[in-house]
Amino acid sequence: MDAPYLLAFVFALWAVGIYCLATKRNMLRMIFGLEIMINAANLSFISLAAGVPGFVDPLAHSIVVVSIGLSAAMSAVAITLVVFAYRHYGTLDVRELRRLRG
């Protein structure tokens, strides 16, 4: 697979993630968008590594593995915060939160 096509796909994934962050109100959906963006970043690492002819340097893949773990941890923390916020405010809507903040 050629790097440019993979990178185009990565860019599309990233755009999807940005779109979710920018337009969604639901906090969980915003987290999903963040996750998608992180996946796009991981994919970019892999695709750039794959684009090299010959032996693939495993550095990129190791980084991706660490990144997946990090993103999992981050999502866990984020979802915990969302759960607490839901219990406190009774809603998952970010705009509601802003309005209540006064």
Binding site: I18, L21, A22, T23, M30, V94, R98
Partner: protein
């Protein structure tokens, strides 16, 4: 060089200035004691001035210069005393009159707590006046000129607390003038003239490179020609120059400060208006006259713009003669009458100096008769003012129709005032007659028949006003009290200070003495009039021809020679004029055969004329409205609309603009994640596009 010590002219003006500081330090002394240094110094100045007299018989002039300070371009300003016939004659008359007035003041300011200020200003004034006469260059002259103006401001506004008793003007319901305002008015009107004079001195300096009078005379053909090369510049110099003396000497159109200047103490009025300050203008005109005469009559080609100098002075003088003489006929305050007659008399002097340049044959005639009239006028006017001071002091009122002085107890004052008054009117054989004849003769010689007519007809008006005033003062001035109209309330008892009887019955001897001396001098001058006039004329003749080098002999015969017949006709016509004026006045005010009030009541035209003259031809009112009123009216529009607008635009507007811009920009900081993400995306897209297109381009 003339045979006398060169230090004496310097001492003449320095002594009064040094003596002026002494009264300020004499705290706790009486007013009389404070005056002693001043009287002593003026006496010394008079003696020093007398010591210059022998120089008249010698030839030429003496101008001993010293270096004063340097100027850019290598030049310098010197300082020195110019002793020539003009300055010797005038300095003598001035010093003499100053001394007598100081003696008179000693008694006048008795009991005044702030007499130290009075003596300081008087002494400084005398010093300044002597400086301006003796100065040999324009800068030194101008310093004396301005000093005199400043001291007159202080002296006219002497009663600065504006107590009701010192207000002049009125009687009610007419407007009054306060002393502080009168002082300010005098200062500002004369400053206006001074500024113009300075402008013309500066222009003259630029072309001639010197301020010294003698050097200006001697090099006048060069620099005047250079000025004339720019069309209109010589006329501008003439007009600017003329404005200074006209303002200082209270001539038309600057005459309005002098009547109001009567707010000062009487010796001040005598000093400023009879003896000295107003004569300063006459002096400087006489000083520069030969230059402009030369510019027109001697130089080839003739610089016709120089004639504007003479026309301006002559016409202004003639108009002032008329203004003064007519207004004196209706004025009710004694000092105002004297003020109007002063401006009229100076009008005669200016007229004489003006016509002296309009024909070569009238040069010497006009010059000498102007100076002669200056001497005579100084003496008789000082006598009149000092007597007026006594009259006001004794009767307690400034209005002639309230004075009701007794001709028995005030016999001497009456005699002195009659002598002075007749001299003022130019009645033969008094001194005023001789000098007025000279002036009228010079008008004839220069061919100015209109001005001659004005001058000689004014004699009628003058004698009328003199007899009117004397009659009202001493002959129980109830009738002829002026036009009594419904809105013109006659003075009530409360208005006139004092009781109308003689408040102080005794006339102080120290005040009477100078009056007597001056009246006696008037009589003396009357007796020696023709010979004195003749010798002054010869002195000036010699001066102009020998010293200044004017080739008069070659220029002279443009009019028929004046022999005895014409001067005889002139004298007879003057006597006739006097008779025409004197008779009605005598009948109305002294004999009370006719009644002025009835005359006025019957003729509406007379009422209109009376109203015009009473309101000073409305000149004062117009000037007040235009200059003072407009300036005052401009204050709030300028502050609010111009300054306020600019201030608001810049000091308030610019910060508001910045504030608005900052508030506007703050709105993009929302703090909302979604919006920030959009900014981020937009930036990334922009960068992408830039890199793509920059790379392509």
């Amino acid at each position: 060089m003339l045979p006398y010590s060169s230090v004496l002219p310097w001492l003449c003006w320095l002594l009064p200035i040094a003596a002026s500081l002494v009264p300020l330090g004499m705290r706790g002394s009486s007013a009389k004691a404070k005056g002693l240094p001043v009287v002593a110094s003026t006496f010394l100045s008079m003696v020093l001035a007398l010591s210059l007299l022998p120089a008249l018989s010698g030839p030429g002039y003496s101008d001993l210069q010293a270096f004063w300070f340097s100027l850019p371009g290598g030049g310098s300003v010197g300082m020195g005393m110019l002793v020539d016939p003009l300055s010797i004659i005038i300095v003598n008359i001035v010093a003499f009159l100053c001394f007598l007035i100081m003696v008179y003041s000693v008694k006048y300011v008795e009991g005044d707590p702030s007499a130290g200020r009075y003596w300081f200003l008087m002494s400084l004034f005398v010093g300044g006046m002597l400086l301006l006469i003796l100065a040999d260059n324009f800068i030194l002259f101008f310093i004396g000129w301005k000093l005199v103006g400043l001291c007159s401001y202080g002296l006219i506004g002497y009663y600065y607390n504006d107590e009701r008793e010192h207000w002049i003007g009125g009687p009610a319901p007419h407007a009054f003038q306060k002393p502080s305002r009168a002082g300010l008015k005098a200062l500002l009107v004369t400053t206006f003239g001074d500024v113009a004079l300075l402008a013309s001195i500066i222009i003259i300096y630029i072309y001639s490179g010197t301020f010294n009078f003698m050097e200006l005379y001697q090099t006048s053909s060069t620099w005047v020609a250079q000025i004339a090369q720019t069309p209109g510049l010589l006329s501008a110099v003439c007009l600017l120059f003329v404005a200074g003396p006209l303002a200082k000497s209270a001539q038309f159109p600057f005459q309005e400060w002098l009547p109001d200047a009567m707010a000062g103490p009487t010796p001040v009025s005598a000093l400023i208006h009879a003896a000295t300050m107003v004569k300063a203008g006459v002096y400087i005109v006489a000083r520069v006259l030969p230059i402009f005469f030369l510019a027109y009559w001697v130089m080839t080609p003739r610089l016709s713009e120089a004639l504007i100098f003479f026309y301006a002075i002559a016409i202004s003088g003639a108009i002032t003669i008329l203004l003064g003489a007519t207004q004196a006929m209706v004025a009710l305050e004694l000092k105002k009458v004297l003020a109007y007659s002063t401006i009229s008399a100076i009008g005669y002097m200016m007229l004489s100096l003006g016509v002296s340049g309009l024909s070569p044959s009238s040069l010497v005639e006009g010059l000498y008769s102007g100076v002669f009239h200056l001497i005579n006028h100084g003496v008789y006017k000082a006598a009149l003012f000092l007597c007026a001071g006594i009259a006001i002091h004794v009767s307690g009122s400034i209005y002639v129709n309230e004075m009701r002085l007794s001709s028995k107890s005030m016999r001497r004052v009456l005699v002195f005032m009659v002598i002075g008054g007749l001299a003022l009117a130019g009645a033969p054989p008094f001194s005023g007659f001789w000098s007025k004849e000279g002036i009228l003769m010079s008008c004839l010689e220069s061919g100015q028949y209109v001005l001659f007519a004005v001058a000689s007809l004014s004699v009628i008006l003058t004698i009328f006003s003199v007899i009117r005033v004397l009659g009202m003062m001493f002959c129980n001035g109830s009738s002829g009290a002026g036009y009594v109209a419904p809105r013109f309330a006659s003075p009530t008892e409360q208005e006139s200070k004092g009781h109308g009887d003689n408040v102080h019955s005794a006339v102080p001897a120290l005040m009477l003495l100078p009056c007597g001396v001056l009246a006696a001098l008037t009589v003396l001058l009357s007796c020696v009039g023709p010979w004195l006039g003749g010798s002054i004329r010869q002195t000036f003749d010699a001066y102009l021809i020998d010293t200044l080098g004017l080739p008069l002999a070659s220029l002279v015969p443009t009019h028929a020679p004046q022999g005895l017949p014409i001067s005889l006709i002139l004298s007879v016509s003057s006597v006739v004029m006097i008779a025409i004026g004197a008779l009605p006045a005598y009948r109305i005010y002294v004999q009370h055969k006719w009644c002025a009030e009835d005359l006025l009541a019957r003729h509406r035209s007379l009422q209109a004329i009376h109203r015009l003259l009473w309101n000073r031809y409305y000149i004062d009112a117009v000037c007040n409205k235009v200059f003072v009123g407009w300036t005052l009216a401009m204050r709030s529009p300028i502050a609010k609309h111009i300054e306020g607008a600019m201030d608001a635009a810049i000091n308030v507007g610019v910060p508001s603009l910045i504030g608005a811009a900052s508030r506007g920009l703050r709105r993009i900081q929302t703090g909302i994640l979604s919006v920030n993400i959009i900014y981020f995306v937009a930036t990334v897209v922009a960068l992408l596009l830039i890199t793509i297109f920059a790379g392509v381009l």
